[in-house]
């Protein structure tokens, strides 16, 4: 009490208190970071050094590279980092901010839409050359009598009800429209899931997570149903068990509450926009698979068993793990250069899905209807071009599933 009384009148004492807290804070957080993450930081620095030496960098460049890596890894491994990100996000919310900037201002600025969902900034891009590549691919596939469909995944910002704050533009839907227009002019089969959402009178925001840019599992399942029904109805290729696989009653639907802080949420913390629920859907009917994950050119791993055994990565469903765990990766575990899925309960049908991350909860369901489903990610597969891969392998159908965030200039098709 005496101390509190003195605090009232003695300015110096107030400053001493601040100094003591400051010193305790800078020492304790520095030491804690070193003790808890020192080895991770050290490993990253050593890796950066070895990579620098391997790339024959000059001494100055090598040193600067190592220093930058040290600073970056210290930041990312800082003790209680997530708590500080939460404080930051809470402060942004208190200020009513709808635009949360990042050190990487171009790619990582987060917008909060009027419906409370988060999205990332987007920029205009000329897709003429990308479309040309896709058209060239289609012509090649025609020559091999292989069917080709381009599926436009829905985008989090609705084309018909733009929820962005005044002054912000969305270019992703514009890019998607332009791309589809160019493809239609070349008579390519397209499925625009954005339009299907409108036709089915679905509430657009229900399809997406609040804090992640991806679609929810039920939305991906709905998208799968749309696509497989289209294929079954319009293409002359073997498709099995559509009636069974498109009936949600034939699946376990597990719902987990307040357990998922998505990619955008991890940039701004839990307090900014909350935390998502997560729904996990998997078959309740018998399945049997052999699956090869191609992690890189030389590293593969095989899995055998049911849909759950081969497709599901249980660590992402561990609800004791923090919300920052990437629940979306529960299907397949993430993006890989190539996955080869053999459905042993089906005799025919071979498809190639060229996808981005929107394919994670989509392609597993597609594999229920074909003997072989291969999943190819243009962003990660570097061993050969897509065209070279197609020259070496025969498919009944090649299906592109792309979300508008991911249009790249150099999609292979030539």
């Amino acid at each position: 009490m005496k101390l509190l009384k003195r605090l009232e009148v003695d300015k110096n004492l107030k400053q001493y208190l601040i100094a003591v807290i400051f010193i305790l804070a800078i020492f304790s957080f520095g030491v804690s970071t070193t003790l808890t993450k020192g080895s991770d930081i050290k490993q990253r620095v050593i890796t950066a050094y070895k990579n620098g030496r391997a790339n024959s960098l000059s001494a100055n460049q090598l040193l600067k590279g190592v220093i930058n890596e040290f600073e970056s890894s210290v930041n990312q491994n800082f003790y209680k980092r997530l708590a500080f990100v939460d404080i930051f996000g809470g402060f942004q919310r208190l200020l009513g901010k709808n635009v949360v900037n990042d050190a990487d201002a171009v790619n990582s600025t987060v917008y909060k839409m009027k419906n409370g969902q988060l999205t990332l900034s987007s920029y205009p891009r000329d897709l003429t050359s990308t479309a040309k590549n896709v058209v060239a691919l289609k012509k090649y596939l025609e020559s091999k009598s292989t069917e080709f469909i381009y599926v436009q995944a829905p985008h989090k910002v609705s084309k018909y009800d733009n929820q962005l704050p005044v002054g912000l533009e969305d270019y992703n839907n514009v890019k998607a429209d332009e791309m589809l227009e160019l493809l239609k002019e070349a008579n390519i089969r397209t499925i625009d899931l954005r339009e299907e959402i409108q036709k089915d009178n679905i509430v657009h925001e229900d399809m997406f997570y609040i804090t992640d840019h991806h679609w929810k599992t039920p939305a991906a399942f709905w998208g799968y149903c749309k696509v497989i029904e289209y294929i079954d109805k319009n293409l002359d290729i073997p498709v099995s068990n559509v009636d069974v696989t498109t009936d949600l009653n034939n699946y376990f639907v597990e719902e987990y509450k307040d357990c998922f802080l998505g990619s955008q949420g991890r940039r701004v913390g839990k307090l900014y926009a909350g935390v998502d629920d997560y729904t996990f859907i998997h078959p309740n009917f018998d399945t049997s698979y052999e699956m090869v994950y191609h992690y890189s050119h030389s590293t593969t791993k095989e899995f055998t068993g049911s849909f759950y055994d081969v497709m599901v990565k249980e660590e992402y469903l561990d609800m004791t793990a923090p919300a920052s765990t990437n629940r979306y990766a529960a299907y397949l575990g993430g993006d890989y250069p190539l996955l080869v899925i053999e459905n042993k309960m089906i005799d025919e049908g071979r498809i190639l899905i060229v996808q981005d991350s929107f394919g994670l909860p989509f392609s597993p369901f597609m594999s229920l209807n074909f003997a072989y489903t291969e999943v190819f990610d243009l962003r990660h597969y570097k061993d050969k071009t897509l065209m070279e891969y197609l020259e070496e392998n025969e498919f009944d159908l090649v299906l592109f599933l792309q979300n508008a965030n991911n249009y790249e200039q150099n999609q292979d098709g030539e």
């Binding site: 107030k14 210290v74 800082f78 500080f84 404080i87 050190a103 002054g167």
Partner: protein, 471 residues
């Protein structure tokens, strides 16, 4: 290494403080050596090669100091040493900072084809060069004892708190403290509070204002609305003030933590009612450096003719502009202030117009903002077009959604920036007579909140521009 970084706040600073106050606490010599090597390491962290330039410069200036002290009674020799010192230091800064600009302009104006080498600019070269010169001149003028120990000269010049962004510390300010200083808890605590204040200014205010300013100045002027142009330059005025003064606060605070007392570098410049007053409040260490080492030796204001006065002002303000960077925009910026200050001196501005508070304030802030457009723009053409937009001469829209968006997003930052630009908090504090528990709690809580929020911004990884790359 930046002050507003995790590595500095949670690793470098605690390590140096620990070594300073624990094993080396009883030896001023060891403390100084620690600070010197910590400072060299601090600089080398960002400039692993250029640290050698700084060491080279320190050694030569130490030697010049010894010479000027030895020959101080011999007018010719001492002036020769001073001249050599000036030439040496200006040559270094010329090569790294102005050579490319000079050659490019020679090629442009004289249609020559001289090869322009690509020379990187060592961070802080303008600051440590001026400190080097200050050391030798102050020794010559007997404003400070010569340092026989080169390590102590090295400490003065490279001391990490003021190395990369000032303030320009005059040797006379800390000469005594290098050898004899007494750290105490009051200074240390005040230093911590000052550091936190500076950190908040830089991270919470300056970095957020930078987002508006960078957007406005990156846009093509054909699509820039009048309102957003004004918002952009006002944001830039806040950005540069809080970035610079924030860094100065952190430098002063850090100095205090180690027992050094640097002079103030900013004194609420945005309350000025004349350009002359503005420059008595803005970057005080630079303006006083030029005043004491250039203006006064030329005769200052106490000259016989107005022509000579104008000439003296021209020299000082040309050098001030050039010091800020090798670009015509900085030269024109300096020239703008030369014109305004000459005008004020010649018309006896303060006596004649001093009573018109509002008008003189508007006049001052208008030209300061115009000056900031020049300062921030990529080139003179860009600055001209930007000013045309501001004045409505470019025919772009008056108001747009972008202004609404940015104003809404940053309204609280703009408000706090405006409040912190004037001494209102200081004034309020003096008015509160009954400083009770609530006040005490608020006082301590404010600092801690500023610190925690600043750290949260740093750790999250928000936009953190370093604007002193020209210096």
């Amino acid at each position: 290494m930046l002050f507003s970084s995790v590595v500095f706040i949670f690793f470098f600073l605690p390590a140096v403080l620990f070594m300073y106050y624990v094993p080396f606490r009883n030896s001023i010599k060891l403390k100084n050596i620690l600070l010197l090597f910590a400072s060299l390491g601090f600089y080398a962290w960002g400039e692993p090669v250029f640290v050698l330039i700084m060491i080279f410069s320190i050694i030569f200036n130490w030697f010049f100091g010894l010479l000027v002290d030895k020959y101080r009674e011999d007018k010719f020799k001492s002036r020769l040493v001073i001249s050599l010192m000036v030439v040496f230091n200006l040559t270094i800064i010329f090569i790294f900072k102005y050579l490319m600009f000079t050659l490019e302009n020679i090629n442009y104006f004289f249609k020559t084809n001289i090869i322009v080498p690509n020379i990187a600019l060592p961070i802080g070269i303008s600051f440590f060069t001026f400190q080097n010169m200050s050391y030798v001149i102050d020794v010559y003028r007997k404003d400070g004892e010569v340092q026989k120990n080169p390590l102590y000269v090295g400490l003065y010049i490279s001391f990490f708190p003021q190395l990369i962004a000032g303030p320009i510390v005059r040797y006379q300010t800390i000469a005594e403290e290098v050898n004899h200083r007494k750290e105490n808890i009051e200074d240390f605590s005040q230093g911590v509070c000052r550091f936190i204040t500076g950190l908040g200014k830089k991270v919470l205010l300056a970095n957020n204002m930078a987002l508006i300013a960078d957007k406005a100045f990156a846009m093509g002027t054909d699509s820039l609305s009048v309102s957003f142009a004004w918002l952009g330059v006002i944001a830039y005025a806040f950005q540069i003030f809080f970035d610079f003064s924030g860094y100065s606060d952190m430098a002063i605070g850090l100095g205090r933590m180690f027992g050094f007392h640097f002079l103030e570098n900013f004194n609420y410049p945005y309350i000025s009612r004349s350009i002359s007053e503005f420059w008595r409040r803005w970057h005080i260490s630079l303006s006083t450096w030029f005043r004491d080492y250039v203006y006064f030796p030329l005769g200052g204001s106490r000259v016989k003719t107005k022509k000579r006065l104008v000439f003296n002002l021209f020299v000082v303000w040309s050098l001030t502009g050039v010091w800020h960077g090798a670009n015509w925009t900085f030269i024109l910026w300096g020239f703008l202030y030369f014109v305004l200050i000459s005008f004020e001196k010649l018309v006896n501005f303060k006596d004649r117009f001093g009573k018109y508070n509002v008008l003189t304030y508007i006049y001052t802030m208008f030209f300061v903002l115009m000056g900031w457009v020049l300062f921030r723009a990529d080139n003179i053409s860009h600055a001209t077009e930007y000013i045309k937009v501001m004045l409505g001469f470019k025919g772009t829209s008056i108001f747009d959604n972008l202004t609404i968006l940015y104003f809404n997003e940053y309204k609280y930052f703009l408000l706090f920036s405006a409040l912190c630009s004037v001494p209102i908090i200081k004034w309020l504090s003096t008015k509160i007579k009954n400083k009770n528990k609530l006040y005490s709690f608020g006082y301590v809580a404010s600092y801690l909140i500023i610190f925690i929020l600043s750290i949260s911004y740093i750790i999250k990884g928000t936009y953190n521009p370093f604007i002193y790359f020209n210096f």
